[in-house]
Point group: C2
Chain length 323, copies 2
């Protein structure tokens, strides 16, 4: 586009306006200028896509050299994965994890247990793995059959090998701000925000969902980074009013198109932790991406956003456990 | 007061108006009517005072019979308190706790350690107490001298005897919604709300302060009771805007008159966890009580609010530990 004189330029709130005589022909957000400087999409009112796939790739790349160093010291990082029964989604998740291990040179051992295993058998296996010196991380893939007590199983995993961060000791230490294994998904969200130099301190962060695996540790991670955090859930009464105030909005609800444009503040940072299937059977998140990307300043896609980060942070935890 | 006809009556928002010809002579909050039915102060625009002293007394009364039952089974509940160095405030707190133990027939043993104790000596004492079968609860009074690692000390207290709920295991279990010892102050706040039949579910709760001892477990307790919870702290940027939305406002900041009338929503429930000294040297909370009581629906006084509840819940935890 060629600009003919006279040209006027002014700033209002967070926006830069250019005017050619009487027609305002460009509205530029400062954020967009910043984005341009980072070589990202710019000069249009669309969110920066937080490329979890790429950040995860870089994270794994960094870990690769750390694994090499450990091997030179005769430490061979190894993950043990326990799966009980057959669950389609679990199989995919576990496959992604084993692939990542293979890529990084992390050893991997899988324990497939039948549906009819007893609680004692499960705990015995965990205790055996706790005592095996060659194993640095233990992961119990959920869900497990309902006759088993998964909480007791998580409690049995040694905190030193609890690479998923689900043992109460890990959870408690995260709350208390002590060194621990952080649950991989929230850990990945923080890493992603940090890689894009997104400031968390002082921001209003809203977490949708209060699961033990995502919502609650996400809240803690954001609080530890000095955000003002609100946690919402099924009993929340005025949801839209709350989400509208969020500078950082994290959705971990598990419902396609749950987060719509009218729930999002202009220029918010939108993190989509949901992994759902839409009507066409395609993987999608909780956020109405096509709509919300036009109002957010940053947004994670699904797939390719938080998912790959989760696996990358699991690898980070395994390497940490092996050190 | 005698009412002469004609009398008009109408309802606007949450208020009931009576009008005698042209003069509105009574503005009655529905809440006040509810209060009247509970035999509390009524028909004036002032908050119900949440009488922590009285609820604590009743709680201790209930515990007394439980202690008697335990004694019949040859279980003699016993608390061990560790104090390191001399701290004026700590002495008062510890004295209150020992008095409550005495009242309930709970045995009590105090360990006063010098300022110059080593970390190893402190941990050795904790381990000795962990192993002593006659002791059911262990309490390490904070603060302790700075050369000692209080977190490591809390981690060393056996989760089975952690009546203060400061061990990461206790903290983690609270987060995960599992049976555990709950930190006494937040536990006391919940008990107080419940005794007054105050609904927590679905309410917007705002916690001011994110200490490990009060703010963070308070957040968890309110979340476990299905409130939508926001946690604010020194980095929070738009504090008043947030507190103004709170149906339940809990302040644990430690600054006299920090919470002023303009920060409080009409008919909010205001819980004051602060224990400060005002300019006259008198004990006061975080809340400007005289101002805020005219706008809140319920409010805790300081002293006589949360303080006695904290001690009562400690007693509750000791009895639980002894069972």
């Amino acid at each position: 586009m060629k600009i003919s004189a006279p040209l006027f330029l002014w700033i209002k709130k967070n926006e830069l306006f250019l005017q050619n005589t009487t027609i305002i022909f460009k509205k530029i957000y400062f954020n967009d200028i910043i984005r341009k400087n980072r070589g990202k999409e710019c000069l249009k009112n669309m969110a920066v896509i937080l490329d979890g796939k790429e950040v995860a790739r870089k994270t794994r790349e960094n870990l690769k050299s750390k694994v090499e160093e450990l091997k030179k010291k005769n430490i061979f990082p190894k993950l043990a994965v326990i799966m009980v029964g057959e669950d389609g989604a679990s199989k995919i998740y576990v496959k992604n994890k084993s692939k990542a291990c293979e890529e990084l040179g992390i050893q991997y051992e899988e324990f497939l247990l039948g549906d009819d295993i007893t609680q004692k058998q499960l705990l015995d296996l965990i205790n055996t793995l706790n005592n095996r010196k060659d194993i640095h991380g233990i992961l119990l893939q959920s869900p497990i059959p309902k006759h088993l007590d998964i909480n007791e199983a998580f409690r049995t995993i040694s905190p030193e090998k609890d690479v998923d961060g689900f043992n109460p000791v890990s959870v408690g230490k995260l709350v208390l701000g002590q060194e621990t294994f952080i649950s991989c998904t929230p850990f990945g969200v923080i890493k992603l925000l940090e890689e894009y130099n997104i400031k968390i301190e002082g921001k209003n962060a809203v977490v949708l969902g209060r699961s033990n695996i995502v919502g609650k540790p996400m809240l803690q991670c954001l609080l530890n980074k000095h955000a003002t955090v609100t946690i919402c859930h099924s009993k929340t009464e005025n949801l839209k009013e709350i989400t509208k105030k969020a500078d950082i909005l994290v959705s971990a609800i598990g419902k396609p198109k749950f987060v719509t444009k009218d729930m999002v503040k202009e220029n918010a940072i939108v993190i989509d932790v949901g992994i759902n299937r839409n009507e066409q059977g395609k993987v999608c998140g909780d956020v109405d991406f096509e709509e919300v990307k036009n109002i957010a300043s940053y947004i994670t896609p699904v797939p390719g956003g938080v998912g790959p980060m989760t696996v990358a942070m699991l690898m980070t935890n395994i390497v940490k456990a092996a050190k």
